[in-house]
């Protein structure tokens, strides 16, 4: 039996993990089973992160290994096969702010924890959040921002959601460099999360899964 992908990837052994994937593909293993193992490994990575055993470099590195695995496996997936998702989240860095590192880590952690994430990118106008919520019926919205100007953009985004009549249909979480509970109150968001795993915890609490 080949070495265990879940453990190897969770331990961030890049070369070994890629080798295992290659061998399993050669042996005709189902691509979705490989991806499922990879996701389970990343769940362990997330758990280790929330227990302060792993840190941001470990998250980013695991994401990089996962990307390579996905690139290897994806061409072998036949149409109609899809990974089951636990819920939908709309994410973006708010208007005026172009910082993406923190947001990308949150998107990544939500994704590997089974959420379907609609990443609107950076400098996202309030209306774009509203449109995406309507289009996707997402129950959770994540607003990211690094600068103090993001305080106002977050508030404006929450207000736009309210104006569109969607405020009681979604939960809104915020995070980023200078964000704290005081900003949460100011912006009218439902929660502030200090890191990516808190975002996962919040989303799971709201959506389940």
């Amino acid at each position: 039996m080949a070495k265990d992908l879940v453990k190897t990837l969770a331990d961030l052994k890049e070369k070994e993990a890629l080798e295992i994937v290659q061998n399993r593909l050669k042996a005709g293993d189902a691509p979705l089973r490989i991806l499922d193992d990879a996701r389970r490994a990343l769940e362990i990575v997330g758990k280790r992160f929330s227990e302060s055993e792993y840190f941001i470099p470990d998250l980013v590195y695991s994401g990089e290994i996962l990307k390579q695995i996905t690139d290897m496996v994806k061409p072998k997936i036949t149409k109609g096969q899809e990974v089951k998702r636990v819920g939908k989240v709309v994410m973006g860095t708010v208007a005026g702010d172009i910082h993406d590192i923190g947001k990308d880590i949150v998107v990544f952690m939500l994704d590997v924890n089974g959420f379907e994430v609609f990443d609107l990118g950076i400098d996202v106008p309030a209306q774009k959040f509203v449109d995406k919520i309507k289009e996707t019926n997402s129950k959770v919205v994540g607003l990211s921002g690094f600068l103090t100007l993001a305080f106002d953009s977050m508030k404006e985004t929450v207000e736009a959601v309210k104006k569109a009549g969607l405020r009681d249909k979604v939960k809104i979480m915020i995070g980023g460099g200078q964000i704290d509970d005081q900003v949460k109150g100011f912006a009218g968001a439902d929660a502030y999360g200090k890191d990516a795993m808190e975002a996962v915890k919040l989303a799971k609490g709201w959506i389940g899964g």
């Binding site: 961030l12 890049e14 792993y54 840190f55 941001i56 470099p57 470990d58 980013v60 590195y61 990089e64 005026g96 702010d97 172009i98 910082h99 993406d100 590192i101 400098d123 600068l147 103090t148 100007l149 305080f151 106002d152 460099g177 200078q178 964000i179 704290d180 005081q182 900003v183 109150g185 100011f186 890191d195």
Partner: protein, 450 residues
Amino acid sequence: MEKQWQEMTADEKQEAQFQKLLKPKDPGGNDLKFQSPEAEATYKASITRIKDAVQLKKTPDRVPVTLLPSMFPFINAGMTIQEAMYDYDKCVAAFNKFISEFKPDMHIGAAAPGPGKFFEILDYKLYAWPGHGVAPEHSYQCNEGEYMKAEEYDLLLTDPSFYFRNFYLPRVFGALEGFTMLPPLTGILEMYGVAFNFIPYALPPVQGTFKALFEAGAEALKWAMAMGGSNGLLATLGFPNILGGFTKAPFDVLGDTLRGTKGIIMDMYRQPDKLLKAMEALVPIMIGMGIGAAQQTGNPQIFIPLHKGADGFLSDEQFKKFYWPTLKQVIVGLIEGGCIPFPALEGHWGSRLKIIQDIPKGKSMWMVDQTDMAKVKETLGKNACLIGNVSSSMLRLATPDEVKAYCKKLIDTAGKGGGFIMGNGAFFDEAKPENVKAMVDFTKEYGVYK
């Protein structure tokens, strides 16, 4: 006979620097003419207060207070960031008004917006700024990327200046494309062959790059004159700026603008030895950058913004292996060169305090953003002066009474026995002016040591 600078100990150098600050000169080298005896007294009292807070030998007469804004003075004056970046006179006028009104013991000058036209001339790609990727009313922000490639460590290590000129600079400044065609300067050795080295300077792309450099230099000088004028004027009004320049932690040099956040993370796993070697090579360069700036400006305080050492970014093991050793060497090197390192602990640093407290006593000042100040005082605060930590969210969202209550707590804990300068924790843009005022005025009143 007075001791020569080279013969002085770090203690003597620092003392000499403060004595020089206590006898400020005008640009002509004559004694600075203050606008009033009160202004002179205010200036000297502020310097003495900062000196006592930094040296940890004597309790100052009161807690000094500083204001370290990013764009606040310009936003508060009703200007857009774009105006502050392009109209140097307007920028300086707003900053002068800000300092004259809020009256801190120390400021760091009006340089935060930077010269917009200069960035345009050089086609700067590393940042988005008003009119170039962000709205006129918003601050400039970094376009992160891998401007240095993973396989380029050997090039950097062999000849850092050559690497910067021929590879890094043309990637971050569009107008410096011509640099890619230049040979290394170290090939210019003897009569035979010397002329070959100069042929590229005849090529149109190289000449275009030099033309852009001349223009950029003229623009930078124009801007620097406005900044210098502001510092000079504010000094005559009694408000010192002791900032000499800045340098960086070697890990941040590579992780911020060369390899980028993701790039340096990959290097930690895939080529840790190369990364460590490159950081070692950067140590003398970063020390030289700080000392050089201090000599050029005559001011000893060298700012060191600290980014990727913050809590949660690295594990303790990674911090001890990759971040701290070379940063400590830079800090110690600056101190031995007579500078006052001024590192800023941006974000949270609670898990690093026991490690970073191991520095020479009474030689540096640390800006604290969101770390619990009581804990910082018990550790790093034993060896260094602390600045901060009124948060950006508090300045922007709280009431003046809440700000005062927080400042009281800071003075009672961090201010105990001296070694503390009241100030904001992170460079701030939007804020309520009444909160900024409350921070300064309350400190002047409640912060008096009895």
